[in-house]
């Protein structure tokens, strides 16, 4: 039977409100008599907190409260994977911006004045800004357990033999930069105590249930005394997975029993929020004369800054993805996340994979060039297929679309080549063109950890269908996709389904909106819940129609026996049949994709149950005078399993290309220097190329309607394809991002100088 809702470009839920400016984000919420919260932050990168004097601030008229670590009722400790971060510094501060004291005041101006009146006695300690220094044996410890947060090893085959058998070995060191997420909406929220005394938070977030779980021990309250509701969220990209304003809002509302609000300025957001881990990657790759990859060895160092956040996930993901989507029989990777006194780094679209892809895709092009193969042919010789075994020993059984993505971009690659050859650079134009290819693979969901989602559906006597999901739609479109899956499963028009989402009191845990997992995992949970409803209603309809249940179908909200479509019963009639007043039909779905934990010594295991694949080709122009790289065309082919909403998938691809251009060409966050968008440059509409998205659907049997994910994959091949295109244009390899004006001009000059 043909899908009627899944696969359609239905209009996004809530899109009219967003486009017309009516959508209400946390900062738009008006709340009467709310106090304004501000945080006093550490001015030093590393120090021991001796004394925090708040009396003068507290005495100011209009200040309702000034809090320090001593005021926290529960545990002053949080962290999404490893708990190492304090809400308010008690003993130590570890980066410039570490929170020390919290002010609640009647107005923003009073709150600012109170911050100025706080005096903190902090004894500076030696600060470390380079992971290499932090790993030195005599380095001062930033955390008690030492400066190496985590080490992940992946070992398979015989690495020595692999290199001994190789005819060609390429070794290089690559460096990526600390990056800011640059979501449109800075961190914001409001909180109050409801009539029962329950603390209610309305906050921008990627995971209300994880926020709740982290806040309960901080407040030391029963779980039902705290409720977190996700507000309309203006982007997250991983940066709203960690709690930010949440503990401050919860603490002040709880202790002062008054409504509170907190909105970060852009400067505070830059200073206080997580960043993308900068990675240093040494990679050595060996291949046979015939072009078969034989060995890959890599050492990866991630600067996680002052706190762990998602550092462990980044170290692991970069290690398990380090080969790229290629068969490599002999692999040895060691990946470390290291503490420094830089801004702390956490989750950001791709968890280390966009960084490692720069290394493996540069290596692929270098090998291809030396072997005399074009980049697509070389990749096809090595790309995964059904039955391939990954570096963690996982046998890929289904939905391996990498070869399809390469085949689909090939004609564009050839066209771009011909265009360049037909238009050689003219005198004084100073522009050289180049074409670059890059591929990627990306495991959907958390790495080697269970990451279940759950959903409920109910139908009442009026036939009103409600879907309950804990999944936070942060702008990526999960509301729409989940409703499409529910509607398709039930045979209902898309508009018929009411959605209740991301409220810890009304919905159950769906896990984070991260790791490109909501369509695949929460989508499947929703499908399971809908299937249960469908089973109940089908049996009821079979009874009413007096046919066996397997003869009953439902389309567009009407039940009918197959081959006797004239005998129709509307959905609501079936729903009502036999239901007493107040009774509802309920369905529940849970999905937890099959994973196993990775062996600590070898990394062997099943980190993910499925992977997304992509290949991209970019045409760039390099101005040899200014060093400016302009991306002219990008064609991006993504195997998403099934595009539940093709418009959403394309939106992700466009945004991934935009973000990748920033990563590859412009962006670099300097700790303690970069304050705002004044100096942190992200691409504008004018910097965007013409983008051709190509959707490839190699179904994933465990996914809803075959779907996987695309959120992070969309970004990953972009920067590597640009860097490979720059090489094609200039003959120079770029080993560090961003490929900015100075870097490219210097590379070209070196070449001209000899």
């Amino acid at each position: 039977m043909k899908n009627r809702v899944v696969g359609e470009r239905v209009a996004r839920i809530g899109i009219r409100d967003k486009v017309t400016g009516h959508a209400r984000y946390a900062a738009d919420l008006e709340i009467k008599n709310a106090l304004v919260l501000k945080v006093f932050r550490s001015p030093v990168a590393h120090g021991r907190v001796k004394k925090v004097m708040t009396e003068k601030a507290a005495a100011l008229e209009g200040v309702a409260g000034v809090f320090t670590a001593a005021d926290i009722p529960g545990e002053n400790l949080y962290g999404i994977i490893n708990r190492d971060q304090t809400v308010l510094a008690s003993e130590k501060v570890r980066f410039v911006g570490d929170p020390v004291a919290l002010v609640a005041a009647e107005t923003e101006e009073i709150a600012e004045a109170a911050l100025k009146a706080i005096e903190a006695e902090i004894t500076p300690l030696p600060a470390l800004f380079d992971p290499a220094d932090a790993m030195a044996p005599d380095a001062p410890a930033i955390h008690e357990k030492g400066n190496i947060l985590f080490t992940r090893k992946v070992a398979r085959g015989d690495i020595e033999k692999g290199f001994a058998d190789s005819d060609l070995i390429i070794e290089e060191t690559y460096e990526t930069r600390m990056l800011e997420h640059a979501y449109l909406e800075p961190e914001a929220g409001v909180a109050y105590r409801d009539e029962t005394g329950c603390v209610v938070l309305l906050v921008t977030t990627q995971n209300p249930h994880a926020d709740h779980a982290q806040l309960v021990p901080i407040l030391n309250v029963a779980p039902d005394r705290l409720r977190v509701i996700q507000t309309e969220t203006g982007g997250g990209f991983g940066g709203k997975l960690d709690i930010s304003v949440q503990p401050f809002l919860a603490l002040a509302a709880y202790l002062l029993k008054r409504p509170v609000r907190m909105v970060y300025s852009r400067e505070e957001s830059f200073m206080a929020s997580a960043k993308r881990h900068p990675l240093k990657i040494r990679m050595k790759t060996g291949a046979s004369r015939e072009g078969k990859l034989l060995a890959m060895e890599s050492e990866i160092t991630a600067d996680t800054g002052a706190y762990g956040s998602y550092g462990i996930a980044v170290a692991t993901r970069s290690a398990v993805h380090a080969t790229g989507p290629y068969n490599v029989p002999n692999v040895s990777v060691i990946s470390r996340a290291v503490y420094t006194n830089n801004n702390w780094c956490g989750a950001m679209r791709g968890f280390g994979v966009p960084q490692i892809a720069i290394a493996h895709e540069s290596q692929m092009d270098k090998l291809a060039q030396r072997l005399g193969l074009d980049p697509i042919t070389f990749r096809l010789k090595n790309a995964f297929e059904n039955g391939s075994v990954t570096p963690t020993g996982q046998r890929l059984e289904a939905s391996v679309g990498i070869r399809e993505t390469l085949k689909k971009i090939r004609p564009y690659y050839q066209t771009f080549r011909k265009e360049i050859e037909a238009n050689p650079s003219r005198r004084y134009d100073g522009v050289r063109h180049g074409v670059g290819v890059a591929s990627m693979w990306y495991g959907i969901g958390n790495t080697g950890h269970p990451n279940p989602s759950s959903a409920q559906m109910e139908v009442d006597r009026d036939g009103v269908v409600t879907l309950y999901t804990g999944a936070a739609d942060i702008g990526q479109g999960s509301d729409t996709v989940l409703v499409q899956i529910a509607a398709e499963t039930l045979g209902l028009p898309y508009e018929r389904i009411r959605l209740v989402r991301a409220d810890t009191t009304l919905t159950t845990d769906a896990g984070a909106t991260s790791a490109s997992r909501q369509t695949y995992i929460s989508g499947r949970a929703v499908q399971e819940a809908a299937l249960e409803i469908k089973r109940i209603l089908t049996e009821k309809a079979a009874g009413l129609l007096k046919v066996p249940a397997n003869m009953v179908a439902c389309e567009d909200g009407v039940f009918f026996p197959q081959f006797r479509e004239f005998q129709k019963i509307p959905f609501e009639e079936v729903a009502r049949a036999g239901l007493k007043k107040g009774e509802k039909i309920r369905g529940e779905g849970v999905f937890n994709p099959e994973t196993t934990s990775l062996d600590p010594e070898t990394g062997q295991g099943t980190p993910y149950s499925t992977y997304a694949y992509a290949s991209q080709v970019s045409l760039v122009a390099v101005d040899e005078v200014t060093g400016q790289v302009t991306v002219k065309r990008t064609v991006s082919a993504h195997d998403v399993g099934k595009a539940v909403n093709p418009a959403n998938v394309e939106g992700q691809i466009f945004s991934g290309v935009a973000m990748g251009i920033g990563m590859g060409l412009f962006e670099q966050f300097y700790p303690n220097k970069t304050k705002s968008f004044d100096t942190y440059l992200i691409p504008t509409a004018m910097d965007m190329p013409e983008i051709t998205p190509i959707i490839i659907e190699v179904p994933e049997p465990t996914g809803p309607f075959g779907a996987k994910g695309v959120g992070e994959p969309a970004l990953i091949p972009t920067a590597p394809a640009i860097l490979n295109a720059v090489h094609d244009a200039t003959g120079r390899w770029v080993h560090q991002i961003p490929a900015d004006l100075e870097t490219i001009r210097e590379l070209i000059s070196e070449q001209e100088g000899g």
């Binding site: 060093g627 412009f666 004018m686 004006l741 100075e742 210097e746 000059s749």
Partner: protein, 292 residues
């Protein structure tokens, strides 16, 4: 972050505005003039300035006029970048200024930001200034004592420093109609294609006599590379009287680079800017000659 408190006054006439500036000066109050606000609001929010009074001149209608008066065009300081980019009078007689204005910020900034603000803010990266320099623009300043007119190159003392008095207002930009045979080019180099501060910008106007095969005259100004805007006279000298050849162009590029370093000293950005300024001068001259 909240912006500092100040008194806000919006005079409707020039005389009123200058009177307010004088009063502020005499009473020792810090006054700031608000036109489009695209620089001022940023400085206020960052608490870089804490004025006692902000005088909003955006309601003074006569300051947004553009007129042709004989052999000159007079541009009011409140004329926005968006207007400079689109007005026929400017495009016809000061096309290079239109081109420069078109590269400023974004549509939103161009709709608010004014020519006068761009000049008085005196950022070394201001996009309109190199264009005004090669157009031989003069500035009219009005104070309590009356008006004075000075060449634009005499207006700047250094980065963000000008000769304007506390009680003076920029009231007009006067551009002599350029000779008809000149060809002009504006180049902007920035890290991205919009909402970008110039890493370097360059305005060039010249006449190349194809019969005689010589540069008859050349005017060059490079922004964001010298402490205050100046003509690249050494490069101009290399070109004038010579033919359009590789050697001459290369020599002009070298001369521009040397003049830039002589004026700015060796800075961290010089390693990049020195070779690039030379090559950009070559590119601009080439493009201007190509125009016919």
């Amino acid at each position: 972050m909240s912006i500092p408190h100040f008194r806000y006054i919006a005079p409707q006439t020039l005389e009123e505005a200058i009177g307010l500036l004088r009063m502020a000066k005499e009473s020792g109050k810090r006054a700031r003039v608000l036109a489009g606000g695209t620089d001022l609001m940023v400085q206020l929010r960052a608490h870089e300035i804490t004025p006692d009074v902000v005088i909003d001149i955006s309601g003074i209608k006569r300051l947004s006029r553009v007129d042709r008066m004989g052999n000159e065009i007079q541009i009011g300081p409140l004329v926005t970048h968006a207007s400079l980019a689109t007005l026929d009078l400017i495009r016809e007689y000061a096309g290079v200024l239109s081109e420069a204005a078109r590269t400023v910020g974004s549509p939103q900034i161009r709709n608010l930001g004014t020519l006068g603000g761009n000049i008085v803010n005196a950022s070394p990266a201001a996009d309109t200034i190199p264009a005004l320099v090669i157009l031989d623009a003069r500035l009219a300043l009005r104070g309590p004592e009356g008006e004075r007119i000075l060449p634009i190159t005499d207006f700047f003392k250094g980065p963000y420093q000008t000769v304007i008095e506390k009680d003076e207002l920029l009231t007009g930009v006067i551009i002599p109609l350029p000779s008809l045979n000149g060809r002009a080019v504006f180049l902007k180099l920035a890290r991205r294609k919009a909402v970008a501060i110039a890493r370097m910008n360059l305005a060039c106007m010249l006449y190349y006599d194809r019969q005689k095969e010589i540069f008859e005259w050349v005017r060059l100004c490079v922004g964001s590379s010298t402490p205050k805007p100046v003509r690249m006279t050494q490069a101009e000298k290399v070109l004038v009287g010579n033919a359009y050849t590789d050697d001459v162009l290369q020599e002009a590029g070298r001369a521009a680079a040397e003049q830039m370093v002589a004026l700015s000293g060796f800075r961290s950005s010089t390693a990049y800017k020195k070779p690039v300024v030379g090559d950009l001068v070559i590119r601009a001259v080439h493009l201007a000659v190509e125009k016919g």
